[in-house]
Symmetry: D3
Subunit: 254 residues, 6 copies
C-alpha cells in the first residue's frame, strides 16, 4: 500500500495523476471509561486499511496519507478532548486538498472516523471541488457498508462509545479496551441522538454532560460482532473506492 | 403570527424567554428556465407559514423572523446566483443566534429552503449550543413530513428545479412558474445526486454545468401533487415545532 | 418592477449588462415604544419602491433585489436588536456585489435605511469598485431629496425613533405604529447626535442607554409630514438613480 | 507636549486616567508631481501640533502618540502608494485603542489626514466605544475649523493634491513641494468628487487613473492661503479638543 | 510511555496537572530523491521516543500526543509537499494548546522536526503563555544536544535532505532511504542557508528550485554518524525535558 | 538619503527597480523606569541611519521608509505598551511588502528594533518571497555587527532595558534617559532569557511581571560603551546592506 509518508516526492508526483489520494481523519476525545481517546482515528484507519487490503493489487491506484489524528470535538472538551475548532479543521482540510491538487492529484477521498467532523468535511469537499478541477469523495466509515446484516443491530445507531464502537474496538484493537465494560448508559436519550421529530437536528446546551458522554449501553459489545461490523464496512468502503474510481476515471484519467 | 419586523422591542423582549424564534433561510439562485431565483426562499417561507397556521393559537409561542433571502450558492454562481460564501453565511447565522440569545430567547429553530445551506446551518447550530445556554433546532423543510404518502414519489429526491420543487411552486406561487415546463433533464445523473455508492458524498468540478442545472425532469409536476407535498411538510414542521417545544420546555421554560 | 426573487436566471442574466441592480438594506432594532423593529428596512423599501414607481417605464432599466433585513446594530443589542457585526455585514455586501458582477451587472446601487450601516456600506462599495470593473452608488434614503422644504424641519436630524422616522412610518405603514406616541425624549442630547464641535465624531460608552434609545421627541410626528418627507426622498432617489444612470451609461453600456 | 515615544511607562500610566490620548494617522500615497508621498501624514501632524501649541499649558491634559504613517490607500496603489488594507487598518486601530484603554486611558481622539481612512476610523471608534468604557472622538483635520473665512475658497473641496492640500503644504513644509506647480487638473471631475446627485456616494472602477490622480488645479495655491487654512483648522481642532474634554470630563474624570 | 491515543479520558485528566504534555510536529515534503516525504515527522518522533526511553521510569511524568504529520511547507509545494499555511498551523497549535490547558495540563512541550514550522511554533507558544497560566517549551530536535562531538560535523548545518538528515534516517529508518544516495548538491549555496552577512535572514523567490531542493551533498552520510547524531539529540532532549520539569515544577506542581 | 515620505510618487517609482527599500520597525512599550516607551523604534532608526551615513554616496541605492512605530508587545501590555497583535503586525508587514512590490521594488530589507517582532517579521518575509518575485532581507539590529569587541560584554544578552539597551540610548538619545539609572535587576533570571537547556524556548505565564520588566542590571551602562555598541552595529548593518545588494543585484538588477 503506497504510504505517502514513506514515498519520495517523485513517487508521489508520478502517482498523482492516476491515483486516488486517501485521507483518514479522526479525533482525540473521551470515549467513556472503557475506550481510548484515539478511538475514532483508530477505527477510521482500521476500516480504510482493511478496505485497501481487500482491494489488493487489483484495486484502483491509491496513495494513502497519514491520518489527521485531531478532529473537531468541542462537545467533548469538557472531558479532555484535544479539539480543533471548525474553522481550523476547515483550514487544515482546505490546505491538504489544495496541496494534493497542486501535486497533480485529481481524485481525493476523505475517510472520516468522527461524527463531529462531518459538516466541516463536507463543506471542505464541496468548496474545493468548485474551485479546482478535481473529483472529491467523502464518507464516514460507518455509513458505507456492503449491506451485510450479520452482527448488525438495526435498532442501534453508530452513536458514541456504545455498543457499535465498542464492538469495533474489541475487534480492531482489543488491547486498548478496558474491561469489563460497565453496563448502563444515559438515563434519557440525548436530544442530538433522538430528536423529537425525524428530520430535525436538535442541539441543547450541556446535553453531552447530561448524557454522561455516551449514547447507549456498551456492555453487550463483543469482538465477534465487531469483526462483522468491521468486515461489512471494509467491504463497503472497498466498493465505494472502486465505484468512485469507475465514475471518475473517464473524465480525469487518460 | 408574531412577526419580529412589526413588533416593538419590548414585545420581542417579553416574548423571548418563552417563545421559539423561527428563522427561515433561503437562496437566490438559478432554478432552470421555469422557476424563479427566489424559489428556495419562497418555499421555506410557504412551508413555515403553513405550519404556523396549522398550529394556530394552540401552538407553542413563537416569534417569526424575517427570512434571510440569500444563501450559500457557489455552485450556481455560473448561472446568476446571488450567493454568500460559507464563512459569510456562518457569520450571519452566528450573529443572528447570538443576538437572539442576548434578547432572551432560549429556543431557536432555523427552517431552511436550500440544500447548499445545510452544512453551515448545522455547524452554526452546533457551535452556538455549545457556547450558550440555549436549545436549537434546524431542518430543511423537505426533510420533515407527517409521513403522508399521497402525492409523494419515493423514487424522486427533492433535487433541484425538478419534479419536487416545481410541484411545490405550482401550489405555493403558481404566478412565478413559467409554463409550459420543458420536458427533459440531465442526460446523466449528476454524481452529487447519485453517488456511486450509498453513504458516499461525491463532488466533481463542473458537475452542475454538465447536468444543465437540474437534477431531474420537471415536466410532470402538478399543482395537485404540490399541494399534497406542501401539506405533508407543513404538518411535519408543525409537529416538529410542537415536539421541539415539548422536549425543551421543561428544561428552559418556567 | 423587475424583482430578482421572481425572475428566472436567464432574465437576470439578460438584464445584467444594461440594468442597475438595486439592493435595499435595513435593520431589526429597537425603535422606542412606538415603532417596530423593522422600521429601517420598511422605510428603505418604501422610499425605493416609491422612487421606482415615479421612474416608471421611462426610467433606466433596473433589477430590484430582496432587502437584506438585518443590519449592523451593535448599539441596540442592549434592546433586542438582531444585529450583524461589521465584518459580517461587510462580508455579506462583498459577496452580493461580487455575485452581481459575476452575473454581468456593471452598475449597482445600495439604498440604506439604517445609520449604523453607513461605514460598512461605503467601505464595501469603495473596495469593490477598485477590484472590479463596475460603477457603484450608495446612499442612505434620508440623504437624497429633491430639495423640497414643505414638511421638513431644518432643526431636526433624521435621528432615531424621533419626529422624522415616526412621521415617515405614520405615512408608510401606520398600522405598525403604536399610538399615542409618548411625548418626551432624552434629557440631554446624546454626544453621537450633537458632538461638542462640528466635524467631530464622538462615541461614548453607554450613550444609547443614557439617551433612552431615541434622539428626539417623536410626539409631534404626523402622517401628513411623513407623506411629504417620503415624497421628497422618493423624488430625490428617483433623480439620483437617473443621475447615476446618465453618468455611468456611456462608459459601461453599449 | 507629552510625547508617548519619549515618556516612561509610569509617566504614561500616571497620565492615562485624566489625559486625552491623541493619535494622528496619515498615508503614504501619490500626491501628483509636486507633493510628497507623506503629505497626509505631514498635514495631520502639522495641524495637531499647531492645535496643541495653541492650547499650551492651559489646555486639557493630553498624551500625543506617534503618527501611524501608513493608511488605507488602495485607490493609489496604481501609483506607488504604500497602503494598508481596510481590515489591516481596522486591526491596527483596534489594537491601539485596546492598548490605550488597558493602560488606563478613558478618552482618546484620532486625528486623520487621509480621506481613505475615514470609514475605517469611524468603524473602529464606534466599535471600541461599545465594548469598552471610554469616550472616543475622531475627525479629519480639514473638517474642523474655527469658521474663519479668510483664505478659504467655498467652491473648493479639500480634494486631493489640488489647491487645498498644496496651499497647506506650501505653508507647513514648503521644502517638500516641487515647484513650479503645474497648472491643470482632471478634464472631467471624477465621480467620487462630484457625484451626480447630492447625498450619493459614487465609485467607478479606474476613476482615479482617469482623473490623473488629482481632483483640481493646484497651480493657484499659495503659502499665504495655506497659512490661513492651517490656522483655521488648528484653531478648530484646539476648540474640538477642548469641547471633547468638557463633554467627557464629568463622566470619566474624577 | 503514556500515549494519549490509547489512554482513556480519565487517565488523561488525572495525568494532566503534574505531567508534561509532549507534542511532536513534522511535515510531509520533498526530501530529494533518496529520503521520504515524512522524514521530518519520522525524525521528530524518533528523537522524542529515544529521549523518553532514556528518561524511563525515573523521568518526569509525561503524556505523549500523536504527532501532527503535516507542517508549514509552502516552499516545497513546488515538489509535492502537503502543506498547511502559516495561519492554519498557528490555529492548529493554538487549538491543541488550548485543549490541553482545559484538560488540566500546566506544562506542554512542542518537539519540532521541520525548520519551516519554527516561527509558527514559537509564535503559538508565546501567545498561549500570555493568555493562560501555563509554562510552555518548544524546540527543534536538531538544536538540543548533549554537547557530544563524535560524529558531528561542525561545518555542516542541519540543512535539508543533506548529510545531516540522511545520516539520521539511515540510523532511524534505513528501509525508507533509497540507495545509493546520489552525490552532488546545489552548485551555489542557497541564500536562505548562507546569508551574505551573519545575522541576516534572506529569502529570495525561487531559491529552493534553484538549489534543487537540498542544501548540501548527502552522499557521505552513514548510519554510524546518524546513530551518534541521534544519540546526542535524544540525550539533549532528555536533559531539556528534565530541565524544563525542574524549572517549572515548583511554580505549577503541588 | 532618499526618504519615502518626502519623495514624489514618480521618484519612488523610478527608484523602485534598482533600490533596496528599507523599513524600520519598532515598538512602544515599557523599558523600566529609565528608558522611554519608544526605545526600540529610536534604536532601530538610529542604527539604520548611522549605517546609511556610513554607506554614503557609494552605497547601493536605497529608499528609506517611515518607521512603523508600533510593534507586537503583548508581553508588555501589563505596563502601558501600545501593542499590535501578531496577526495585525503580520498584516501590516504583508500589506507594506505587497505595496512596495507593486511599486516596482524587487529588494526590501526590514530592520527591526524589538525582539517581540522577530517571528512575525520572519514569517512575513518568508511568505512574501514565496508569492512574489522579490528578494527580502530581515534582521534585528543587535544581531548584525562588524565583529568589533571593544565595548561589548560577551556575558550580556541584548536583553530588555538592561545594560545593552541603556548604553545604546545613552549614546543615541541621552536626553530621553532618566538618571540616575537605578541599580538592580530581576532576582531570578527569567526563563525566556535563560532557558533551562540550550536550544529550548521557554515561556511561562507572568514571567515578565515576576522579572520586574527587565532582564539585567542597567546601572553600569555608559554612553561610551553605547557609542561602541552602536558603531559595531551600524558598521555591521552597512556591510549587511552591501552584502544583500551584491548577492541580489545580478538576479534582479539590470
Amino acid at each position: 500500500m503506497p504510504d505517502l509518508t514513506h514515498m519520495t516526492w517523485r513517487e508521489v508526483r508520478d502517482a498523482g495523476r492516476a491515483s486516488i489520494a486517501l485521507l483518514p481523519i479522526g479525533s482525540q476525545e473521551q470515549h467513556a471509561a472503557h475506550l481510548p481517546m484515539g478511538t475514532d482515528t483508530v477505527l477510521a484507519e482500521a476500516v480504510l486499511d482493511a478496505a485497501l487490503e481487500r482491494l489488493g493489487g487489483d484495486g484502483p491506484p491509491v496513495v494513502r496519507l497519514p491520518a489527521l489524528p485531531y478532529g473537531h470535538s468541542p462537545h467533548h472538551v469538557f472531558a479532555a478532548a484535544v479539539s480543533l475548532s471548525a474553522p481550523t479543521l476547515l483550514a487544515v482540510l482546505a490546505d491538504v486538498l489544495d496541496s494534493l491538487a497542486r501535486s497533480g492529484f485529481r481524485r481525493i477521498m476523505v475517510v472520516n472516523g468522527h461524527g463531529g467532523n462531518d459538516e466541516a468535511m463536507r463543506l471542505a469537499v464541496k468548496r474545493f471541488a468548485l474551485e479546482t478541477d478535481v473529483a472529491l469523495a467523502a464518507c464516514s466509515y460507518w455509513s458505507v457498508t456492503d449491506g451485510g446484516t450479520e452482527g448488525e443491530r438495526p435498532d442501534a445507531t453508530p452513536g458514541h462509545a456504545g455498543w457499535f464502537e465498542t464492538s469495533l474496538m474489541l475487534a480492531a484493537r482489543p488491547e486498548s479496551v478496558r474491561r469489563p465494560v460497565a453496563a448502563g448508559g444515559p438515563a434519557e436519550a440525548p436530544l442530538f441522538d433522538r430528536p423529537p421529530h425525524p428530520g430535525l437536528t436538535v442541539e441543547r446546551h450541556g446535553e453531552w454532560e447530561r448524557a454522561g458522554g455516551t449514547t447507549d449501553d456498551a456492555s453487550g459489545a463483543t469482538a465477534e460482532d465487531g469483526a462483522l461490523l468491521l468486515a461489512h464496512r471494509a467491504a463497503g468502503l472497498a466498493a465505494a473506492i472502486r465505484g468512485f474510481d469507475t465514475a471518475t476515471r473517464q473524465s480525469h484519467g487518460s
